[in-house]
């Protein structure tokens, strides 16, 4: 079974703090993704990566950066957390290209609260 794990289920940070969210997958997937989920807005893509050290902006990258130093690990960084970044953050991974259905496998999510 594919397993995607995220470093924390719940996180509380203060405005201005630097925040690291970590994601690890164990299925040798090339692609990894970071989404945020807010009520009524669905899942919105922040950044994704299709290879080590490669990254591409998603639909809402402002205020975020990412790091992918190893294939299995993808980190989301909030350089200076703000209250409007309070949200559920979901990591996902998938194979590259058209292998199988190219479905995305999601982690359990990190609920981040910025005070």
């Amino acid at each position: 079974d594919v397993k995607v794990t995220q470093s924390s289920r719940y996180l509380v940070k203060r405005t201005g703090e630097k925040v690291f969210l970590e994601c690890v997958q164990d299925m040798d997937h090339e692609n990894m993704f970071w989404y945020r989920q807010d009520p009524g807005l669905g899942l919105r893509l922040i950044y994704f990566s299709y290879d080590v050290k490669m990254k591409e902006k998603g639909d809402i990258p402002e205020g975020y950066s990412v790091s992918r130093e190893k294939k299995e690990r993808f980190s989301l960084i909030l350089e200076s957390a703000s209250t409007n970044q309070t949200s559920m953050y979901l990591c996902a991974s998938s194979f590259l290209g058209t292998k199988r259905d190219n479905e995305q496998f999601f982690g359990p999510g990190t609920r981040l609260t910025v005070l």
Partner: protein
């Protein structure tokens, strides 16, 4: 950027009633996926539709992809309490590459037993 509009946002039904959620894109999709998220859980892949007019079934769930590949629907026949959750469609377009999915807003289904 490309968007997928999903309706309704909420649906409450009596157990045993049918349920349908719809997704629309203003431009032609290359394929569309459907995910289910149980309350407190994470999205789980259900199915992918690729061909124009495609219809796929999974037990009581029927997934359709429109002839123009601009819309899709998920229909659940005779809902059960295990169907509770939020259903998302997620689309891909040729000009956005094979990796990126754009999710609809989701339809949250609640069921009165």
């Amino acid at each position: 950027g490309q968007q997928v509009m999903q309706i309704p946002q909420y649906q409450h039904v009596q157990e045993g009633e049918d349920f349908t959620t719809y997704c629309n894109s203003s431009t032609t999709l290359s394929n569309i996926q459907w995910y289910k998220q149980r309350p407190g859980g994470h999205p789980v892949f259900l199915i992918q539709l690729v061909k124009s007019g495609e219809v796929k079934k999974q037990k009581r769930l029927t997934f359709q992809f429109g002839e123009a590949k601009k819309n899709s629907s998920l229909h659940i026949t005779a809902t059960q309490t295990t169907d509770v959750g939020t259903y998302f469609c997620a689309g891909r377009w040729e000009n956005q590459g094979a990796q990126k999915l754009v999710f609809g807003q989701g339809t949250r289904l609640t069921i009165n037993p």
